[in-house]
């Protein structure tokens, strides 16, 4: 095969104690589209940031057209012809579509001024070329999420790109919009571009990708042409371990315990159907579904961090007016989805993070004696297996797995009756994962009720006693016991596409 446009050669990257990528070999050829597969936290986003010069590698190097690239800034990779559509939008709401597309490369008049007419014309031509019908003068803040995504793609393609990297581009798109995107991608590939496509959706990968590379826990576990793979073999390469090793036993009789949480007709948003569910003492109930299916919104509403109407009771006690403080007081605790955004106190010590939910635990009259926090933390870190030299260190010095253990430990200080966990193992290595699973099961066995949200099917299947599958904000189906399989969940979760857009997934 000809020389690849872009390649990773023995690429490694560490963040402090975390080795995220180890010796990655990866190639992108012209006329090819490579799927980059892997679970959350496998290292896909890090690889992309290394390939574009946003991160510098701690080992190995990036090769562009056969030569070591040595980029230290995304501007350099962009100039070489590597265009990226990021997971997080980089479009600016205060600017127009045309201004966004040509930001930093505006067409100029002879006087050096922005040529507004050319700007509009070029943007229009580019949008037309991609088959996107938008007015280039419109402000981006007025657009839908899907249209913002289209602007993002147009922006990436304003330069003569050799390689286009798309990081989960369809997460926010409807079926029709996805189809449209696929036409664009296929067209670009036929014109000779090399594409990298990151997605969790295997159907999409098999539909538009010529090659597949699978990453697991920071190493490439498998790669080759798509024709060599089946859905199952990709999943096997992504997961690559026996379930039995990772997950503890399940509850013998999940709904035997007392009803801890009872939810009737909970309305999270006026246009969504009401949700009803319950969680018993001693069981782990899963909330499965695609990203954006409304799982987190439901959990936040239960926890009182988002407005809702409907009946929620805890141990038979109705909780009409909920807010996080009241829920914590009553015994509902929640681990949030994004550690860095609303979980950790990044500038505070490990000890203080341990104590954040209950700063006054075990003290009289709200007066905290010296060393109290540290003594508690020292006990907690041993009990929950947190590895840290000194509990006075800032929490940012810990690995993702240890940070997550701290967050779970501090919730347990309140002796929760109901524990809501949103993506409990996101960005956590395998070892810590299995410890977290073990802890959660022990808690259930001790009589706690647990509600777990996860995007990793394997986690839902391996951990949960009962599963509610969500779709478009609705609790679409409940699965119990042996019914809980990846297939069953996907069938329900992705059915959205067939009912709403008339195409089977």
């Amino acid at each position: 095969m000809a020389q690849p446009y872009l390649a990773a050669r023995g690429l490694s990257k560490s963040f402090g104690p975390n080795e995220v990528l180890k010796g990655i070999e990866f190639e992108v050829h012209g006329h090819h589209s490579v799927a980059l597969c892997g679970e959350n936290g496998a290292g896909k986003s890090t690889l992309i940031k290394l390939l574009t010069g946003l991160y510098t590698p701690t080992g190995g190097h990036v090769e562009f057209e056969g030569r070591e690239a040595g980029w230290s800034d995304p501007r350099q990779s962009l100039a070489a012809g590597i265009a990226v559509v990021h997971q997080e939008f980089s479009v600016l709401g205060a600017l127009s579509i045309a201004e966004n597309i040509y930001l930093g490369a505006e067409p100029r008049t002879k006087m050096g001024l922005i040529d507004r007419r050319a700007l509009k014309r070029d943007a229009q031509a580019l949008l037309d070329d991609l088959g996107i019908s938008l007015n280039p003068d419109d402000l981006v803040e007025t657009l839908s999420v899907a249209d913002k995504q289209m602007v993002e793609i147009a922006k990436a393609l304003r330069v003569e790109a050799k390689v286009l990297i798309l990081d989960e581009p369809t997460a926010v798109l409807s079926q029709n919009e996805t189809k449209h995107l696929f036409r664009i991608i296929n067209d670009l590939r036929e014109r000779g571009m090399g594409l990298v496509y990151v997605s969790h959706r295997l159907d999409e990968i098999f539909e538009i990708c010529t090659d597949i590379t699978v990453i697991k826990d920071g190493v490439v576990t498998s790669k080759g042409p798509t024709t060599d793979y089946t859905h199952d073999s990709v999943i096997a390469a992504m997961v690559g371990r026996e379930l039995g090793d990772l997950f503890p036993h399940k509850a013998a009789n999940p709904t035997a315990g007392e009803k801890v949480l009872e939810v009737e007709n909970l309305l999270v948003a006026p246009h969504l159907p009401p949700a009803s569910l319950d969680v018993h003492a001693g069981e782990i109930v899963g909330l499965a579904g695609l990203v954006g299916s409304g799982r987190t919104e439901l959990a936040l509403a239960l926890f009182g961090a988002a407005p809702s109407t409907g009946n929620v009771s805890l141990m038979g006690e109705p909780m009409p007016h909920r807010d996080p403080a009241g829920c914590i007081e009553a015994g509902i605790l929640m681990l949030t989805e994004s550690r860095k955004d609303d979980g950790l106190f990044l500038n505070s010590s490990v000890a203080r993070n341990f104590a954040a939910t209950t700063p006054g635990f075990g003290v009289h009259h709200n007066a905290i004696p010296p060393g109290h926090e540290e003594r508690r933390a020292a006990v907690l870190k041993d009990r929950r297996g947190v590895v840290v030299d000194h509990v006075g260190l800032p929490i940012s010095a810990l690995s993702g797995g240890n940070q997550q253990k701290v967050l779970i430990a501090r919730l347990l200080e309140n002796r929760p009756k109901l524990l809501i966990l949103d993506e409990p193992t996101r960005g956590v290595d395998v070892g810590a994962k299995s410890e977290i699973y073990k802890t959660l099961r022990e808690l259930a066995d001790e009589g706690m009720a647990l509600l777990v949200i996860s995007s990793e099917l394997i986690e839902i299947v391996g951990l949960c006693d009962r599963v509610h599958v969500m779709r478009d904000g609705e609790l679409a189906k409940e699965l119990v016991g042996d019914e809980i399989t990846e297939e069953a969940i996907i069938t329900v979760a992705a059915a959205e596409t067939s009912t709403h857009h008339g195409v089977a997934a």
């Binding site: 996080p324 004696p369 030299d389 260190l393």
Partner: protein, 323 residues
Amino acid sequence: MTATATNPANSKPNRNTVRATQRRELLILLGFLAVIWAVTTALSPRFLTPANLKDILIQAAPLGFVVIGQMIVIIVRGLDLSVASIMATVAVLSTALIDSTPVIFIVGLLLGAFIGAINGYLVAYRKVTPFLATLATMIVLQGIRFAYTKGAPGGTLPEMFRWLATGDILGIPVALIALAVVGFGMHWLLERTVFGRRLKLYGDSPEAAYMTGAPTKLLVVMAFVISGVLAAIAGLFLVGYVGIVDNWTGRGYELDSIAAAVIGGAALSGGKGSVPGVLLAALILVSLFNIVVILGLSIELQLVIKGTLIILAAAVYMKRSQG
């Protein structure tokens, strides 16, 4: 918790703990103060005299009160531009209305708390940027004060007022005793109570604080109330020290208090700050002002020194947090 669990965490000292870092910052401030005092002592015999040191401390007291409040507001990611205006307004109104010293103090503190509550309400409930909310309060108070006094304040100061601000007990200035009491109290509140923990955690991450059950809006309001009360105290001590009630009492304290808070280790990004740190910074600033006078330098050098110090301190803290 059992007695055997005592201090296993502190068994091995670690340079990089949050507390060790804070301690080092305090030592640096202390070292800096020692160096400027030593240099000045070498240059002039008039500096290191009991009378002059007492003068410095008395002068530092009003700024000390204000900077503690300013720091607490900065800890919750705020900023209080209204402190100087509160100082003057409280001094003007309460001395004009009443002539019993204790009652003046009570009314003054209540007034400071009320103004602080308005600031806090605008920030926490109306989502007005602290900068603009307190800027507006500052201007409105200025108008009310001048309108009430028609430009010429006529409040008379009871004798006790002078004594409070300039007198001493057993050779220790009363103002300093008051500052020490307030300083210890606020330090205890910040470091040893649930409320203080919540304030600092809120500043570190408002979102995480909300999700861990902190009463976030109340915290912000309370921070501004504390700042308002401390500014009121500072205003009353300052008029007592100067001996005249003036519509511009405390002018410049808003910026001086921000400067001292930043030099003392508070970061505008929130969550960081300590009472000893900002009091040391206030002492450093006032010492430098005093040194300029003692050495017979142009009084305007005070401004140059202050400006340079605030930028340097902010830059040093920025580099440390990155490194």
